[in-house]
């Protein structure tokens, strides 16, 4: 269907967004984007005013990750646009489909160092999948259609569209074309699985290594079928958590720097590693040339550039996981290896007994994970609390665990939870944060207040930049440089200032009741969990070390 309509560039933007199913956008207004905000006034698209453009970008990321839809954020030129950059870089590293719309100074003023002019188009090159600058209003519609297609096709990622003010104001005879087919996946030749099947059937000690690509490809069911057919011992990356069934007897947990001992040992001993939507990241491999030293590699991916990037492969299977995973589903006879892996899983299981009265964060997170409603979604910030959440909470889908993986961006958790809550109003959204990280986007409590979002904030408070403190203790002779936060604000009072109910707990025997109170509360809630400043995340593979040489708690 084709509709012709005379309108401004600004109002055309919202028509095209709606055509692509966008109901919610996150943003912050300013001079060079005022015509777009004026058009918003008449639009049915619902706008959520964040209190910093970084918050808007992360809310768009959280929205996209929790729902599988494209997240959209808006910002003005200059400082508004540069405030989006960290969110774009984060979305780029984790392959998240978001679209950032920035206002720009009018075309006649561009290149003159005008007020609030910054070359955001130039800045975007290193932190987006693609970017556009629209200099003719007649191109706007097509650019927006392309932005959606590019954000979603193949390996997903962020797209920026920079729109000068005069283009937003210009009249356009828009032809609202049918939205381009979004499922137009990158065309790759049919994968040749013959070699991979041969490798798989010869392997005696194969391990399945699952990454974030599985969730992105919407292939959780296919992966679980594959695991059922092959009964492969399996491990997950941080971003892959939720793809594998955490209760499967052959699932060994997360691998890498803070991975489980069983997962890392199994991978190190494997003779075949089947990487699925994973990219051999340095936090996963540890010392690269000692990673899985005896393993041949089968690598499933949608992105050709990931093949042989960090580890040479024996068989590459490029393309859609939904199609390619079933092709490799063959029963295997690897019982002795399965038994060995299960034994390691049993022998090196988590210990939750913890002396003294102070609260043990891993046990708190495990209890929250067990008590929160099914299909709850957890977001995290970055640091020790993030690793404890990854280790001790369990998820049935990757869209239920949102964490800044590739970029490790502090400040992610709270705005991502806001985006997740808006995309899934009926699900329980929990954010696990640290007393350092939460301050990086603390202003978003005002967004929670304004929209009465029932986000549950679990603040693991060690009065330290804990993860950095841990490294200073272990690798910098205990020289604690700039990691003390003992003069933190009163977080309960701070939450209350935003009409958010809050409670502080300091003792083990307070934990269960507090978790129940938080989960039963109808609105937003902040639970401040005071823990010992010296608690460390274990195991830990030191930098540039092989994954089997992990340090463990003593």
């Amino acid at each position: 269907m084709v509709i012709e309509k005379k309108q401004t560039g600004g109002s055309l933007l919202f028509d095209v967004l709606q055509q692509h199913g966008v109901q919610h956008v996150f943003g912050y207004p300013g001079g060079a984007i005022m015509p777009i905000y004026d058009a918003l006034y008449d639009s049915d698209v619902e706008h959520f005013l964040c209190r910093h453009e970084q918050g808007a970008a992360f809310s768009a990321v959280g929205y996209a990750r929790a729902s599988g839809k494209v997240g959209v954020c808006l910002a003005t030129s200059g400082p508004g646009a540069t405030n989006l950059i960290t969110g774009l870089a984060d979305a780029m590293a984790d392959s998240i489909p978001i679209i950032a719309i920035t206002g720009q100074v009018a075309t006649a003023a561009m290149g003159s160092d005008a007020f609030q002019e910054v070359d955001i188009f130039g800045l975007s090159l290193a932190c987006t999948k693609h970017s556009f600058q629209v200099t003719n209003v007649n191109e706007l519609e097509n650019v927006l259609h392309q932005a959606f297609a590019i954000a979603l096709e193949g390996r997903q990622g962020p797209v920026l569209v920079d729109i000068p003010k005069d283009i937003q104001l210009a009249t356009v005879n828009a032809v609202l074309n049918d939205a381009v087919n979004l499922q137009n996946k990158v065309k790759l030749p049919p994968a040749n699985v013959g070699k991979a099947i041969a490798l798989l059937s010869q392997a005696k000690q194969p391990v399945l290594y699952v990454g974030g690509g599985v969730g992105m490809a919407n292939a959780v069911d296919e992966l679980r079928e594959f695991v059922k057919a092959t009964a492969l011992p399996s491990v997950s990356t941080l971003k892959g958590l939720g793809a594998l069934d955490p209760d499967n007897e052959n699932y060994l947990g997360m691998l890498g720097m803070h991975g489980t001992k069983a997962a890392n040992l199994a991978v190190q001993e494997s003779d075949l590693l089947i990487a699925v939507g994973a990219r051999f990241d340095d936090r996963v491999t540890g010392k690269l040339n000692e990673f899985a030293p005896n393993a041949k590699i089968i690598h499933f991916d949608i992105d050709t550039a990931e093949i042989n990037k960090r580890r040479a492969v024996d068989s590459a299977i490029l393309g859609d996981l939904k199609v390619n995973l079933p092709a490799l589903s063959v029963p295997l006879s690897i019982k002795p290896w399965q038994d060995k892996c299960r034994q390691m899983k049993h022998d090196f299981g988590w210990q939750y007994d913890h002396p003294n009265e102070t609260i043990f964060a891993p046990a708190v997170l495990k209890e929250i994970s067990e008590k929160m409603p099914k299909n709850s979604c957890v977001t995290t910030d970055v640091g020790q609390h993030q690793m404890w959440a990854a280790q001790h909470m369990s998820f049935q889908d990757p869209s239920n665990f949102l964490t800044s993986g590739g970029m490790g961006t502090m400040g992610f958790g709270l705005p991502a939870a806001i985006g997740a809550q808006i995309s899934r109003p009926n699900d329980c959204i929990v954010t696990v944060s640290g007393d350092g990280s939460i301050m990086m986007n603390i202003q978003e409590l005002a967004t929670i207040k304004r929209f009465q979002l029932p986000v549950k904030i679990v603040l693991i408070d060690n009065s330290k930049l804990g993860m950095v403190r841990q490294w200073q203790d272990l690798f910098f002779s205990g020289r604690l440089s700039e990691t003390d936060l003992s003069d933190n604000p009163d977080f309960v009072m701070l939450a209350n200032a935003f009409d958010i109910k809050a409670k502080q707990i300091t003792l083990k025997n307070e934990v269960s009741a507090a978790i129940e109170e938080m989960l039963d509360h109808n609105g937003p809630y902040l639970l401040q969990v005071k823990i010992n400043a010296e608690d460390n995340v274990w195991p830990l593979v030191p930098p540039e070390t092989a994954n089997d040489k992990m340090m463990e708690s003593t």
Partner: protein, 84 residues
């Protein structure tokens, strides 16, 4: 260090050259020379890029190929030589 010559066909857009140079530098390749021209009839730009690096050229080819405006990337095999 190995020297390579890439021949890149791309849509004729102002920003294409910037994108190619950014990716080339970021992925660890030194630029030794560049030659670029646009065929106004086809709106296709041809960029010849002379680069050197210790890294395998496939890494760069794959990354340039990922850029949305790129049509084709070829390595001119005659120019592949080791200067190490």
């Amino acid at each position: 260090m190995n020297d390579y010559q890439l021949i890149i066909l791309a849509d004729d857009k102002q920003v294409v050259l910037e994108r190619i140079l950014q990716v080339t530098r970021y992925r660890g390749f030194l630029i030794n020379g560049i030659n670029a021209k646009v065929n106004t009839g086809t709106h296709i730009g041809t960029i010849e890029l002379m680069v050197s690096s210790d890294r395998p050229i496939e890494l760069l080819v794959d990354q340039i190929n990922k850029l949305i405006d790129i049509k084709e990337v070829k390595v001119d095999s005659k120019t592949q030589q080791s200067t190490a």
